[in-house]
């Protein structure tokens, strides 16, 4: 273990704002907007209509294909089923629920005892994970059941990603500190599904309290190793993490299962535990609400569908926000409308002040090559940028633009302030447009 991936940067961690804040239950607001698309794949179709009464944990959306269901996070009445702004910048069909604050539990939710869980087969467990609406909670929101079922028989190494290399975010850090037993329990379920005797939990060395809590929660007989990796961005990126833990390189364009690995976010493990033992689907998650202008940064346990404005009011800001970001500052999406709501993949809301402005009107590349030294995928951002500006499809292809993981290291380090990631997103679209239609 402990290989060091090439490249990367070390942005100011800024974790001190929230790292010592215990996770607090955030009271569900009066109105929740639950998007039907909270995962990669086919969006859910709403199963409820205006005027219906819903209960906590009730399935309100599902679909065929690569999809996981969506559940009501509170009890109340459906006020509307309509398109609402989504954190991805577009609009998305959403179920709007008027909260009746009764928190009436859906009768389908039945806890399981250890004996019952022990009797479950891998297929049954995977079905529970799907019905629990569980997705990768690090931000990518890849359906977890699919990762499990497609990895059956291929995966020999399971890694729990508690790296959390993004600045400001402390949600997984707090989760490891406060809910390590549930995390380990969820990991054991994953190990059972894959039939493995050993697993890794990978975490950065800037979270000593979480490392301690995890080591305390692990029984020596479990075969679980805590790998403490150096704090470096993007340590938590899937391919980089697999390399750092096992030394294996996920092939370009391939999935981790191709090298026998499966990576699960720490919060995902906890959600699997909840779904299997408590019968509770994924309806709330820890969200770090932090930023350099927050009066009091917090880690909050937030019901899915809570508007950003409500969460921002809970922390208060010392000046008007310059940017409100869903996620962390390196990969998060800046929001234009604070009516957007949290979903399963929102691990943080980062509120930045005006002094974070660094945009340059006319950036001039000086070919310093710092972007290359920072690229964890060994690409050449300086040449990719020129190729994109010239819309040179062949050159973009030969520079492997589609391998870019949009981690932001290049743009972070660029002394000229060139919006490189923006350019590569555009370039990837140009490449996709140029591909022959199947």
């Amino acid at each position: 273990m402990a290989f060091s991936f090439f490249g990367g940067v070390h942005p100011k961690e800024n974790k001190h704002y929230a790292e010592n804040q215990k996770v607090q239950e955030f009271p569900a607001p009066d109105l929740l907007v639950i998007p039907m698309s909270q995962h990669i794949g086919a969006p859910c179709l709403p199963l409820v209509k205006k005027g219906d009464r819903v209960t906590v944990g009730q399935k309100i959306g599902d679909n065929q294909g690569l999809c996981v269901p969506v559940h009501a996070s509170v009890s109340g009445t459906v006020k509307a089923v309509e398109a609402r702004p989504h954190t991805n910048g577009m609009t998305c069909m959403s179920v709007v629920i008027q909260n009746d604050h009764l928190d009436e539990l859906c009768p389908d939710i039945q806890p399981r005892t250890q004996e019952e869980v022990d009797k479950l087969t891998a297929e049954e467990l995977i079905a529970i994970v799907r019905e629990g609406g569980i997705v990768g909670m690090g931000g990518a929101t890849f359906p977890t059941y699919f990762k499990l079922s497609s990895g059956l028989g291929k995966v020999d190494t399971v890694i729990v990603n508690a790296g959390e290399c993004e600045p400001y975010i402390t949600a997984d850090d707090r989760l490891c500190q406060e809910m390590a037993p549930e995390l380990v329990s969820g990991l054991k379920i994953i190990m059972k599904i894959f039939g493995l005797k050993a697993a890794h939990i990978a975490i950065e060395d800037n979270k000593p309290a979480a490392v301690k809590a995890l080591k305390f929660a692990i029984d020596p007989a479990d075969g679980i190793v805590v790998d403490v990796l150096p704090a470096k961005y993007p340590q938590g990126a899937e391919k980089q993490m697999i390399y750092a833990v096992t030394g294996r390189e996920v092939p370009s364009g391939g999935l981790p299962a191709a090298v026998g690995c499966a990576v699960f976010n720490a919060a995902t493990c906890k959600a699997i535990h909840d779904a299997v033992y408590l019968g509770m689907p994924l309806i709330k998650r820890i969200v770090t609400v932090s930023g350099d202008i927050c009066m009091e940064a917090k880690n909050l346990m937030v019901p899915v569908g809570t508007p950003f404005e409500a969460l921002m009011e809970a922390v208060g800001t010392s000046e008007n926000p310059y940017k409100v970001i869903s996620g962390g500052p390196m990969m998060g999406a800046a929001q234009y409308d604070l009516a957007v709501t949290t979903n399963k993949g929102v691990n943080a809301i980062t509120i930045l002040g005006r002094k974070n402005r660094f945009a340059v009107d006319n950036p001039h590349c000086i070919r310093c090559g710092k972007c290359m030294d920072a690229c964890p995928m060994h690409l050449i951002p300086v040449m990719m940028y020129n190729a994109e500006r010239n819309s040179d499809i062949d050159e973009m292809k030969s520079l492997n633009m589609l391998d870019c993981i949009e981690c932001g290291c290049c743009a972070y380090t660029c002394p000229a302030g060139i919006p490189l990631v923006q350019s590569f997103r555009t370039g990837k679209q140009k490449l996709r447009d140029a591909m022959p239609k199947k």
Partner: protein, 332 residues
């Protein structure tokens, strides 16, 4: 929907939303800081005229940069300090006796013809300071009049008539003889030559600073200097191999060129392999010119020639992407 109840505007942009504190300006500032030891040594050896020539050259470069951008209605890049670096470096590769009008013409050539006509910062394909120097050799006598070192011999700020001329160590070595100066004098810079190139010690201090600040990496300078050292060691013209090698390395403009000119971001490769080949190429051409050329110094032209190969070198040096199929990786 979307009635905004907040009274402020949110900014949206593509991620990342964080940025390192390094900018073009801080990089150029670091380069200037790294040049300070060499400037101090040049004043020690050549008098205050050295400082004056440097200041005039830097000011002229900033003026031409500002003027051109203004005239062409382009954004103003005069304050990013890159023009200052060009001005200082051009002064550093001239004799201290250079008339002010000559260096100002050199600045004009460097900034307007070499840099701005190709699109400004980041677009020029050869190093502006070295191209300016090459242009200034239109006045070969002015460009190769070397004064004896020592504060008492220093050339006047205005008139240079009093200065006592002398030969440079490389001029002697060009004749195939070992220079008369001691290696120690060559190392600290107590020898005739261009304004900023004499003191290897001061330049190495600047090199250490640049490495510490991660402004440059060591690949080009080390490859360049090592190539010159190895070739000089293998093919000495004097009796003492070691002394010949040391004189080739510390005498003349090699240190200045390898540390500050060949590493110019714009005109050097960005790929690792490209940088190493670039450094070796510079070293080979330098030795070829010093041994067989009509002119005793080869650094400027070696770098200018290699500048023209940068696009090719970057093609050769492309790294293998993460997760590339092993066959492809083995092929490269």
């Amino acid at each position: 929907m979307a009635q905004m109840k907040y009274f402020y505007e949110l900014t949206i942009s593509s991620s990342p939303h964080a940025h390192s504190s390094t900018t073009t300006q801080t990089i150029m500032r670091d380069v200037l800081i790294a040049l300070v030891p060499a400037l101090i040594m040049s004043v020690v050896f050549f008098g205050f005229r050295a400082l004056m020539v440097t200041v005039v050259s830097a000011a002229a470069c900033v003026f031409f940069e500002w003027g051109y951008r203004k005239l062409m209605k382009l954004d103003n890049t005069a304050w990013d300090l890159s023009a200052v670096v060009t001005g200082v470096l051009l002064a550093f590769v001239c004799p201290v006796t250079i008339p002010y009008w000559t260096i100002i013409l050199g600045d004009l050539f460097a900034i307007v013809l070499v840099k701005q006509l190709f699109g400004g910062i980041g677009k020029n394909f050869v190093n502006p300071a070295l191209a300016g120097r090459a242009f200034m050799f239109s006045w070969p006598v002015l460009m190769s009049t070397w004064v004896k070192v020592g504060f008492s011999n220093a050339a006047g700020l205005i008139s240079t008539a009093d200065a006592v001329t002398a030969a440079t160590p490389l001029a002697a070595m060009h004749q195939g003889q070992m220079c008369s100066e001691s290696i120690w004098d060559l190392f600290i810079g107590n020898v005739g030559g261009c304004l900023g190139e004499t003191s290897a010690l001061a330049l190495l201090i600047g090199f250490a600073y640049l490495l510490f600040r991660k402004v440059i990496n060591a690949r080009i300078p080390v490859a360049y200097i090592a190539t010159v050292a190895v070739l000089a060691f293998l093919f000495p013209l004097g009796n003492d191999r070691i002394a010949w090698m040391a004189a080739q390395v510390f005498g003349g403009g090699l240190m200045l060129g390898a540390i500050f000119m060949a590493t110019d971001y714009v005109t050097s490769p960005v790929t690792k392999l490209g940088q190493i080949i670039f450094g070796i190429g510079c070293g080979v051409i330098t030795i070829l010119i010093r041994y067989f050329g009509g002119y005793s110094e080869g650094v400027s032209y070696a770098i200018l020639i290699m500048n023209c190969c940068v696009v090719l070198l970057d093609k050769v040096g492309r790294p293998v992407k993460f997760g590339a199929p092993k066959k492809e990786a083995a092929k490269k």
